[in-house]
């Protein structure tokens, strides 16, 4: 349990710290004239993928905690 809590905490901490940088780089990449069309859409989705990864980590650790405490 403790290992999962620490692991989840580190992942969420690192993820949220890097999130503004990722969003900024995505904005810069979309401003690049070489990135157009489908590539532009895919690059735009990177922020969403990144946020989803953090969100699933948070939900996963919450579910794990609830299960191990017998609430779920």
């Amino acid at each position: 349990m403790l290992g999962n809590v620490i692991g989840g905490f580190i992942v969420i901490l690192v993820g949220t710290s890097l999130m503004p940088t990722v969003a900024q780089q995505v904005g810069l990449a979309q401003g690049n004239e070489n990135v157009t069309g489908a590539s532009d859409t895919l690059v735009g989705l990177t922020t969403l993928f990144y946020a989803l990864a953090i969100a699933t980590s948070a939900i996963g650790i919450a579910a794990l905690g609830l299960r191990q405490s017998g609430l779920m």
Binding site: G15, V22, A53, S57
Partner: protein, 198 residues
């Protein structure tokens, strides 16, 4: 041929590259940045740029007589047409010691502004992919998520800066692949964690 003739030939072979290597390097710059093309001459009255060529793309970018701004012994011309990655050769002439003298030098333009960092890229790609693959196939949820996140940032970085001096279709494809694989590793591992505990 006698031995001393062979030695003479050997000396010539060593001297010729020294004499003919007049092209010097100004440095490495980032694509799209303006570059101050400088020339130093203590007894010139003028220095002009006659042409700038870009290799492998671009060809002859400017051709003619382009006056360099003088400040003492320092001559400067600001050039902003650095839209292609590669080697740029600057040719010009000035009246050194009253004689019209031609000069040439080159500089490099890369997507990141750095050159010869392919080793760093290989290590970085190896480490990031290693973490992602180890986490995913080793069934370690947290390493898989953090590896996936790292792969997404690596993909963005290579998309913006290319790989070393290269930014082409292949490096862009690699970037999108890395972003996609990283997203898959991270989200799949997260969903797997939720799924296991519901």
């Amino acid at each position: 041929m006698k031995i001393h003739q062979w030695l003479l030939l050997l000396v010539f072979l060593f001297v010729i590259p020294l004499v003919s290597s007049q092209v010097q390097t100004l440095g490495t710059y980032k694509v799209g940045d303006c570059v101050n093309l400088i020339q130093l001459c203590d007894n010139c009255t003028y220095n002009n740029i006659t042409s700038i060529t870009s290799n492998p793309e671009g060809g002859i970018l400017i051709k003619g007589e382009f006056w360099m701004e003088r400040n003492g012994t320092h001559y400067n011309y600001t050039f902003c047409g650095n839209g292609y990655a590669g080697q740029y050769v600057v040719n010009g002439h000035g009246d050194e010691n009253g004689l019209d003298t031609v000069w040439a030098y080159d500089y490099y333009v890369t997507p990141s502004g750095y050159r010869n960092i392919l080793g760093l890229f290989i290590i970085m790609i190896g480490v990031v992919y290693g973490i992602g693959l180890f986490g995913f196939f080793g069934r370690n949820v947290w390493v898989s998520i953090i590896g996936g996140m790292l792969m997404m940032t690596l993909g963005l970085f290579t998309l913006m800066n290319g790989v070393d001096i290269y930014r082409n279709f292949m490096t862009e494809s690699f970037s999108y692949f890395t972003i996609g694989l990283g997203a898959f590793f991270a989200i799949y591992a997260g969903l797997d964690l939720i799924d296991e505990n519901l």
